[in-house]
């Protein structure tokens, strides 16, 4: 089966003296329903890998294919569409808009697809149901706990049924109990076929994934992927 996300020989360096090399010849294939943890010390290039995989940043070299489509040379407009349609993002800081309630925050995830507002709202309500927040639809972030906020953020990421959800330290700002709920939620997404890539320091998160990729100095130094078959 074709990988949903395919990174080949990707490098990323930032100008400076000396230039900083964040990624150095990284190759990674992510398949549907795969649950991958990206581990490694701070500064090893995990977040940069996530940004490059999520087309938030262009690689200095190499190829990024999402759903079989080469994206590293796409113009901004098409790249944005790839992000909006194929990818979902979850961040450590949640990044919910304070003045919007839960449904509006989740519907924001579908805003740039341009569908009718009613359909977006319905999908948002459904996504909030999926993360167990069907009873918090009208709550603004200030009235939600940290764990609930991250669940809203996950609902926002999956409301459009992306191929891949990219999560950057999703449990980093949460206590262990809330963190466990998030881990269960992310792991559960894979059952619907969504691939999960989580950058994390949290051993509990790593343990809940099916594959662990370890990075160091911009390279992948270990990958325990089980070859299917």
């Amino acid at each position: 089966m074709r990988p949903v996300l395919e990174i080949t020989g990707v490098s990323k360096s930032y100008p400076g003296s000396p230039p900083v090399t964040a990624l150095d010849g990284v190759a990674l294939e992510i398949h549907a329903a795969e649950r991958t943890a990206v581990l490694g010390p701070s500064g090893s290039g995990k977040t940069t890998l996530l940004h490059v995989a999520g087309t938030l940043e262009r690689p200095s070299g190499g190829s990024v294919r999402i759903g079989g489509q080469e994206v590293s040379a796409l113009p901004d407009a098409e790249l944005s569409a790839v992000r909006g349609r194929r990818l979902g993002f979850v961040f450590q800081q949640f990044y919910l808009l304070d003045h919007l309630d839960a449904v509006q925050n989740v519907a924001l995830g579908l805003l740039y697809r341009g569908g009718p507002a009613r359909a977006r709202r319905a999908a948002a309500v459904e996504a909030l149901d999926r993360v167990g927040l069907g009873h918090r639809l009208g709550h603004v972030p200030a009235r939600l706990s940290g764990g609930e906020r991250q669940r809203v953020a996950i609902a926002r990421a999956v409301a459009g049924h992306p191929d891949v959800v990219l999560a950057d330290e999703p449990t980093g700002n949460l206590d262990s109990r809330s963190g466990q709920q998030i881990i269960d939620l992310l792991a559960g997404l894979a059952r619907d076929g969504t691939a999960i890539v989580v950058v994390t320091h949290d051993p509990a998160v790593a343990a809940a994934m099916t594959r662990r990729v370890v990075m160091q100095d911009g390279r992948i130094v270990s990958d325990d992927r089980q070859v299917p078959g």
């Binding site: 977040t47 940069t48 940004h51 999520g54 938030l56 940043e57 489509q69 796409l74 901004d76 407009a77 098409e78 944005s80 569409a81 790839v82 992000r83 909006g84 349609r85 990818l87 993002f89 961040f91 800081q93 990044y95 808009l97 304070d98 003045h99 919007l100 509006q104 924001l108 995830g109 805003l111 740039y112 697809r113 341009g114 507002a117 926002r156």
Partner: protein, 411 residues
């Protein structure tokens, strides 16, 4: 309707890759919710624009209300025409022919006509004891009983000249002349010393705004002017009312009618147009206030621009998030531009309302009709929108240029 990438054509949707889209309604709603979440900041940042637009609309509204009031007054008086024979070398009015009045009365659209005669060298004093040099600038005019009817004036006290009193040493004082002489009321024994003898004051006029020279005159009858003041019956000025829509043709035939022997010496004027010009000159202050309004708008532009730049910095994470959710650079820029436009439009609407309220307040307090010109309101809203576009452009470009990963990292 959607903004952004759809403008590149539908071809792309059919064959090419999918595009991010943002509906105009969503754009506006997003800005509206964002501004609603920061109400105090929103109110303060559109204050400058609001003040500027309010000043502009109020100034134009008050000016228009005054003009409407004037036009309402002139509506009855805009058909008043003055005919004179010009001036003598010493500056005194030159006489018109004796036939002038009756000739003019025969022009069909002329509704009424009346003549006055300037009595040269005549002075008016309260008593004979006042030194002759303190003349007070009061002129003596011979007038006909129909004068007030033609001019549209009225008496403040006493009566006007009538068929009887025009033959006797009776005088009616103009409003200013009466004040100069210190005469406020008319009693049977009220007299003034006019051209060397006492005349009985029979009436005092209310001000006649269209013909201020009447205010400064003492009016006597033509017969008494002939017999006691040596006028010989020659009029120096003729007032007439023509049918309002026939004023122009009437004025064109007046010189020949009034003085066929010397038409080029005859001057015809419309006092109402002089008054209107004077009122227009009074609105010279309009320019000053509009200038102040423009300065306020400019300050408002700087204020909104400033707050938008700050907003871009504060909302870096949101910019990164929106990019991650599929917003293009253009969508992010448009969102900030929409914020700025909405801010300034709110300021413009608030300003226009305040300006209209100020106009209404002024008009009501001074008894004028309230006129808020639609053009002033539309111009105000247009200026506000332009100001918003100007203020939002740079911040929008900055927001659009922010790279998504950088925006997320910097937060």
């Amino acid at each position: 309707m959607s903004v952004g990438l759809r403008t590149r054509g539908r071809r792309g949707q059919a064959a090419g890759p999918a595009r991010s889209r943002l509906r105009a309604a969503d754009l506006v709603l997003g800005s509206w919710r964002g501004l609603g979440a920061r109400r105090l900041r929103t109110a303060l940042s559109c204050l400058g624009i609001a003040l500027g637009i309010a000043a502009g609309v109020a100034v134009l509204g008050i000016s228009a209300s005054s003009k409407a009031n004037l036009l309402a007054e002139l509506g009855a008086e805009g058909n008043l025409v003055t005919v004179t024979a010009g001036q003598n070398f010493d500056g005194s009015p030159a006489p018109l022919p004796l036939t002038a009045e009756s000739m003019i009365a025969r022009i069909p659209p002329v509704e009424s006509v009346t003549a006055i005669g300037y009595v040269p060298g005549a002075t008016v004093f309260r008593t004979a004891a006042v030194p002759a040099t303190d003349s007070g600038g009061i002129s003596v005019l011979a007038a006909q009983p129909g004068l007030l009817g033609t001019l549209g004036g009225g008496v403040a006290a006493g009566t006007f000249l009538n068929a009887a009193t025009v033959r006797y040493p009776a005088v009616v004082l103009g409003a200013v002349a009466a004040r100069t002489l210190g005469i406020g009321q008319v009693r049977p024994d009220t007299q003034v010393y006019l051209a060397g003898r006492y005349f009985t004051v029979v009436g005092i006029l209310r001000p006649v705004p269209l013909v201020p020279e009447i205010d400064e005159a003492a009016l006597v009858g033509f017969p008494v002017a002939d017999s006691l003041l040596g006028l010989d019956g020659y009029p120096t000025q003729i007032y007439l009312r023509a049918l309002p829509d026939q004023v122009q043709p009437v004025t064109s035939v007046l010189p020949f009618t009034a003085n066929p022997a010397e038409p080029e010496g005859v001057q015809v004027s419309l006092p109402s147009s002089i008054l209107a010009a004077r009122a227009a000159a009074r609105t010279a202050f309009t320019g000053l206030f509009l200038g102040l309004g423009a300065v306020a708008v400019l300050v408002g532009v700087v204020g909104i621009g400033n707050i938008m730049v700050i907003s871009v910095l504060e909302r870096r994470a949101e910019i990164g998030l929106r990019r991650a959710l599929g917003a293009t650079r253009r969508h992010v820029g448009l969102q900030f531009l929409a914020d700025s436009l909405l801010l300034s439009a709110l300021g413009g609407v608030a300003g226009a309302l305040a300006g209209a309220a100020a106009t209404a307040g002024y008009a009501l307090s001074s008894g004028q009709p309230t006129v808020v010109p639609a053009s002033a309101v539309l111009a105000g809203l247009g200026v506000a929108t332009g100001a918003g576009a100007l203020a939002g452009l740079y911040p929008a470009i900055r927001a659009a240029r922010l790279a998504p990963a950088e925006a997320l990292r910097g937060a």
